[in-house]
Symmetry: C2
Subunit: 418 residues, 2 copies
């Protein structure tokens, strides 16, 4: 199939974009893409490609932008229930502690997810993934972390593996057993860290080898934050995971700077995520490494916080910056990557071009997949979006709606408008 | 037709909601609505209505919220072109003055709108109105103000009248010739005020009587703000309009407090809009009157400003508060009322219930139509939304997507999902 006549073809060719390179879109005006067997075969001008492949089936993208599908490198999309009542209660003046005392907060989602069947978990999660996909996310990282016991964590992983097969999207699984300390270990958090290191991670490997049909191991992630896991505890978990061969990720500096990003650099993690209260030292350590800083602007927006990731400093220090949705039931239930871009433009002062690169090629690097996805280059997966706008700048400028006209996944045209 | 089994039927019965009454949703669980001839005939529980009207055609709203359509009482939806390039230039570091010097800002939209044919203007505007309608706005106020000469202002009004007939929505027209001082009057702003008072308004009446098929006169609105029209100029324009019989609206306190809200109260205006930097005096004057304060939270969001309307104070003083989108190409291109609610919850600390009342029954009052729309009560228009959520609290909590499953306008089911 030949997609042709795109007003702008955003190729993002040349690999992940460090520092001031962020936002080099590689725009081809009146561009075209040849797709064969689910892969991108040729990229160029419309006239040349139509001349060279006159008999190819055609898709006319006139007056529309064609770009790579969004890669969402940080979500908690697999859960059961909602916390809308807490959202209203907080606005009506209830404090966080009052809500916790009534059984609210993350542990209420843990409880609902533990009590749910695999089918319920899959049904509710699939709706969210479908919404993300319709809004342009073709690859989506999904974390566990609403189980906090092996059985439920594996149920979440099973959901992710099943939903990866059942839906048009690609899912990237991450084990986040260290999302919070479960109530059973309230008085003995180090005991929970021991459990993860000595029991959950090794058992996960056995389970994975039986259940995941030869897939490489999932990421292991830790929530390194005051009130969750300390720097030492986080290091113990990630070091154990590394020894067992897991690739690593980390949540850091959402509310507090503990030095987790520098530690993640030392351990060779793929990404450090949230990075709001990150110190200049941590930013410099990240920038000297291959690690991607993943900013989650939906979270401060969701919480109406004033502080966002220091994007200018990350870029100025020549680091890799990606953005993601952080989709979760507590702080930010937003399934639309375009809305995340709109927030990033306003509150992190990214240009639309920078935000697009951060949500595609750099996001692909954050999940270790930049050789397969995140740009429109020969040999990559044909995961493309046709937008209902003629100029990419309208992403970010316009907000709250869906500017995706058509999603093309593995070369298949999937048009949810019809 | 009988809409039945709604998990929550949000009636908003009892008229516009002052002060602490804001947010009284009048929820009927397992609710039903009987619609005949485009009007609401009965409202009640599902069992009773099914028993009383067993042969009525049925619409099953199981697991879904049914609520009145959103009334958007403040938009500038009719224009040509976009200012996405300015949005990007500002983020890349250009100043407002540099952009103005390059012909940008509101006057670039004025120039594009002057140069457009009626057909172009209608085609581009219709797309936006359709997007608003799909996201739940069944009645939409639309202002002129990108003409700033009689000919183009009338072209905008003609578009509004035509689009009102051509689309499923109801449009409420407003004349905003005093949106900005046009370049021709740069050195003589009072001359432009004279032109509006002595020539444009009287000629508008003649045109209206010939063109508007017996419709009552449109609103007249003024942008009362430093850099636009002074308090004196605004008063001259609104007083002239009042003498000629026009109903009044005013833009005040977006950036600066000039006392416009109190002046609008004295003149008996229907609403004062923006109301961000509004003084305590002005808030008290509004609260003692019948005027509705219309907050436009998309605008500070669009501009990444920190100040939003002082909702708590307006409510605490027992005033009427409504919210609206302010859809326009300069500061906020967002067509989704649900996103405006999400912003209002986070930055004005409205609860979802308060935001829903502010965007329906109180918004209807801001355009003088609360006897016809804005609630689900017998005798009102059957303008309803069926939401794809079981609990109204999810509005505001979830953001950036479209939670409207089905729009019902004048009793007709219009489902844009299919």
């Amino acid at each position: 199939m030949l997609i042709h006549s795109a007003s702008q073809l955003i190729t993002l060719e040349g690999g992940p974009q460090r520092g001031s390179k962020l936002g080099e879109l590689g725009v081809i005006e009146n561009g075209a893409v040849l797709i064969r067997n689910g892969l991108i075969e040729k990229v160029g001008g419309t006239e040349a490609l139509i001349n060279n492949y006159p008999d190819e089936e055609r898709f006319d993208a006139k007056n529309r932008v064609v770009m790579p599908g969004f890669v969402d490198p940080h979500t908690h999309a697999v859960w059961v229930g909602d916390r809308a009542n807490e959202f209203e209660a907080k606005l009506a003046g209830k404090t966080y502690l009052e809500i916790l005392a009534e059984g609210g907060g993350i542990l209420s989602t843990v409880s609902a997810t533990r009590n749910a069947s695999l089918d319920e978990l899959k049904t509710q999660s699939k709706e969210r993934l479908m919404s993300m996909f319709k809004h342009g996310a073709t690859t989506i990282e999904v974390k566990t972390g609403y189980g906090l016991d092996l059985e439920t964590e594996l149920k979440q992983l099973q959901s992710i593996l099943d939903l990866d097969e059942e839906g048009p999207w690609d899912l990237v699984p991450t084990f986040l057993g260290a999302h919070a300390v479960p109530q059973e270990y309230e008085d003995n958090p180090d005991g929970y860290v021991d459990l993860i290191c000595n029991s959950m991670l090794p058992e996960l490997i056995n389970w994975w080898n039986q259940s995941a049909k030869g897939r490489s191991l999932p990421f292991v992630d830790v929530f390194c934050e005051t009130g969750a896991f300390s720097l030492d505890q986080s290091k113990r978990i990630l070091s154990s995971a590394k020894e067992l061969g897991f690739p690593l990720k980390i949540h850091v500096d959402e509310f507090d700077n503990l030095g987790g990003a520098s530690m993640a650099v030392e351990l060779g993690a793929y990404s450090a995520d949230h990075i709001v209260m990150t110190s200049e030292n941590d930013i410099k350590a990240m920038a000297k490494s291959d690690l991607v800083g993943v900013s989650l602007p939906g979270t401060p927006f969701g919480l109406a916080h004033k502080e966002y990731s220091p994007a200018k400093s990350i870029i100025g220090n020549d680091g890799y910056l990606a953005i993601a949705s952080d989709l979760n039931p507590g702080t930010t239930w937003g399934e639309n990557p375009q809305m995340i871009i709109a927030i990033a433009c306003r509150y992190m002062k990214l240009t639309p071009a920078q935000a697009i690169a951060a949500y595609t090629i750099n996001a692909a690097k954050a999940v270790g997949k930049h050789a397969e996805i995140g740009s429109i280059e020969p040999g990559k997966k044909a995961d493309l979006l046709v937008l209902s706008i003629a100029n990419y700048q309208q992403l970010g400028y316009r907000y709250g709606t869906n500017l995706v006209d058509t999603v093309i996944k593995d070369g298949n045209i999937i048009n949810y408008r019809n």
